[in-house]
Amino acid sequence: MTDTAKKRPEFRNINAFKDLTTYRMTAAAWTSILHRASGAVMFLLLPLVIWFFDTSVSSEVSFERFTSAFSSGLGIVPGWLLKLVSLGLIWGYLHHMFAGIRHLIMDIDHHAVNNQFGKTSGLTAIGLAIVLTLLLGARLFGLY
């Protein structure tokens, strides 16, 4: 038994650079870590989102400030950077939502919990978020 059984690698203290890079990242794994990463980014940028909400609804004067922040910048932050950060938020929201709906489907229908569905639904969530982000990004940067 001990002769034939291959000794499996054992990680007691995972090194971010030596060990994590050797992981085989499946579509489901990418969906999962991007779900977590997008959630963390949205948490950190939440005050910016509330600032968007505040300035866009409070008054016509503040609405003007809201729109001009994207064209002529906000303090030391240039307009294009604010657009880029907003696009990052848009992607994060979309990915988090699609990956979350995928979780709900798996919660409701346990037949959906298998390798095949994990892969196809993961790729669908990642793909939908990227395609919609590109479409909205083109609009945000004035391509159409």
Binding site: S56, V57, F63
Partner: protein, 120 residues
Amino acid sequence: MTDYGNKRTIVGAHYGMRDWLSQRVTAILMVLFTIALIAQVLLKHGPLGYDLWAGIFAAQWMKFLTFVVILALAYHAWVGMRNIWMDYIKPVGLRLVLEVFTIVWLLGCVGWGTQVLWRL
């Protein structure tokens, strides 16, 4: 839950089910809010300027929904962020500091968002 005798529960903090369920309930609320908001932006007539945008949030039912969603978002983010800290941050002191930061950050945002909403 039995806390005496030989059937007493001796493991777990038992917030797993509560966190799992609340994260899903709050998520569904946020999806419904997202659909309601996008539908109004797309279906309302006129140019998408201040009047149309602020008008969406000025409706009482939308204030109602937005307020609930602000609270739902904070609770959802709390569960998620605490999971992240519990997974990656092992020193309890540092984890406590980050958890307190998370609560302060989220409560501040809830207050700010609610203030904006109530002014409308």
